[in-house]
Assembly symmetry: C2
Amino acid sequence: MSSSRLDPWVDAYAQRTAEMQASEIRALFAVASRPEVVSLAGGMPFVQALSMDMMAETVSRLLLERGAVALQYGSGQGDVVLREQILEVMADVQVSAHPDDIVVTTGSQMALDLVTRVFCDPGDVVLVEAPSYVGALGVFRAYECDVIHVAMDEQGLNPAALEEAIAALAAQGRSAKMLYTIPSFHNPAGVTQSQPRRAEILQLAQRAGILVLEDDPYGLLGFDGEAPAAIRAHDEEGVIYLGSFSKTIASGLRVGWAVAPHGVREKLVLAAESAVLCPSNYSQLTISEYLATQPWREQIKTYRELYRERRDALLESLEQLMPQGTTWTTPAGGFYSWVTLPEGLDAKAMLPRAVAALVAYVPGTGFYVDGSGHEHMRLSYCYPEPDRIREGVRRLAGVIEGELEIAHTFGTSSTLRTSSGTNVPGPDLQ
Amino acid sequence: MSSSRLDPWVDAYAQRTAEMQASEIRALFAVASRPEVVSLAGGMPFVQALSMDMMAETVSRLLLERGAVALQYGSGQGDVVLREQILEVMADVQVSAHPDDIVVTTGSQMALDLVTRVFCDPGDVVLVEAPSYVGALGVFRAYECDVIHVAMDEQGLNPAALEEAIAALAAQGRSAKMLYTIPSFHNPAGVTQSQPRRAEILQLAQRAGILVLEDDPYGLLGFDGEAPAAIRAHDEEGVIYLGSFSKTIASGLRVGWAVAPHGVREKLVLAAESAVLCPSNYSQLTISEYLATQPWREQIKTYRELYRERRDALLESLEQLMPQGTTWTTPAGGFYSWVTLPEGLDAKAMLPRAVAALVAYVPGTGFYVDGSGHEHMRLSYCYPEPDRIREGVRRLAGVIEGELEIAHTFGTSSTLRTSSGTNVPGPDLQ
């Protein structure tokens, strides 16, 4: 990224391009990907838990039996057999639909992009949780939406805060186009909406005519009992549900999906064809063959147990090692815990010290569009082994203690607050 | 597509969504995909020419040796080894670049989408050939561009017409943002720009400050001698080059790329991360492993010879069977010939009769945004075997003769001109 080279096209870019921001701290994350660093930053699923022998066999069979289809263009909406299989997968979160209501996408990130493309003009209001998934914030920004954060608590999005946000908009003669929410095992907050709360949120959105965009990549990765019923289980017309195989099978296949009301689905297919012609048959049929021939529920159980063990390692060591004044959420599933630092500390400013101490995390600022979040960090337990997680927390606790000491001595943290931006690693370090 | 179901979100869509049009004649193409119909409509590569044993072996090896990488998230810009291999592939069209200048995308359709996203505000002018690739027209429409067609002749885009279009815009105080062109083995026109003409077009664009978007999916599929040097071979700063493995390896993998000037490339990566996080490592590494271990130039030669044989079958039977007054282009590579019907006939209106006679093509109207093209059709020879092509042309000649007879008897074609739209099959029938 040498800024010494002039860009002859600098005046030619579209207005929306100004909203696409490079991360100021990408370079730091590149360092953080070195093996000696314990990364609690990434959201990479532990795909090593898949049997590669089994995957190789599955794909070989697919290519030998249906290679000419797997390597050919497919339908813009996605493979119809896979869409039927997706219905089976979604039955676990109590979503029922028709295969025609499903649009298969290049990861659910693309579904986010398509929904926003189809619904949002510049200036349209999108309500999001505070904090919210950085990839969604990036999309809403790229489409020049007006993103408004709504407070969360230990049960996720707060309905009273939602009601207030809707009322505040109404008082300005405005209304929101969409509510984007991750009800189960939230990224980054690590919390889950109770069922009554989901019903309440849905009702508020329905009453205000706001489309609910429900993002559910982690729904099947709960650690206790049954998977939570999706918001979409309670309403077909007012909710677009996004699902993904990235965390239940493998992220490198890039297969996600949207379930949308009939009229919306038609628009999404047209937008998808414009964006990529069609999703990869190769990836889709690999998943379809895997689902048809392998004990996939067993595999998800394996993932769940693996992530629970790592969650426990994280929570236990946070409990043992973190200095007083540090708090965190207790995730019942998914990949993340959301940490609040002792007063006066700034997670973003502290990151270079943490990386120097060979531990990495994502500063909270990346999960807000309004510059807040400095006192927070997201810790991921999905990828490192439990012992590495414990070692990472030990290092992190040392860094925080050092910061507290400086704050105590000088009356302030050593680190200055820095400006906002996309403070997250790239996809390869997620 | 039951229009009896009301869409409760009909008033909520973004303005751009109005520009996303469903094809009026998709249903007809669905019929045309039945085995008894000879389809000269689709642009599907004949992937059956790949050895599936070899592909299965290649992917097995990849998964057993590097499965944890192939199934994981990757970089938003694309795999760095694959980007180096892409440089080798592009050497054949004399494009040289640095791996950092390449952005890997989910098919080159996605590169088209990203370039337009990064450069075009609503109302921005994009110059395109007349006719032009329907997938590009769809993207430009979706971003609400003002698309202006520039005439072609048997050597492709006509520089005099381009100069005129630029001058006409200047006279209105306007200028074009981009010139979208397919210089080699054009889709749908089947023609190729000579090298002097490429230089002339580039110079006109440079002088007017217009970015050249060069789409080159067929460049390596020429039937005579060396692959034509790309426009990008002559200018690094003013050209974005789009390449694809869809036609040289397999379309179902959905891997394409853009080569862009430094400053532009950074924006494209940010846009790509927002759109899909990252391209599929699974697809990318499959291609990378294939390129590293297989005689890929031999495979492209196999494709070239296969398509030449089919081109010959098409041209010979057109020569033998078409009624007087029908003309067509003689492609020196690629997938398509562009047919002009005898005066008074309308290819779109004639399509239902052709399908009834068990032959299908794409009416010319799909390749224009301005409602013209009724007298043209695109014939593809890439997918059917030579005998099927000959049979298809025989049927088509019969349909045209029937139309001519009616026109002769009644002084007009039997078929009324119908309104414009996206008159092409979906991706699965391309």
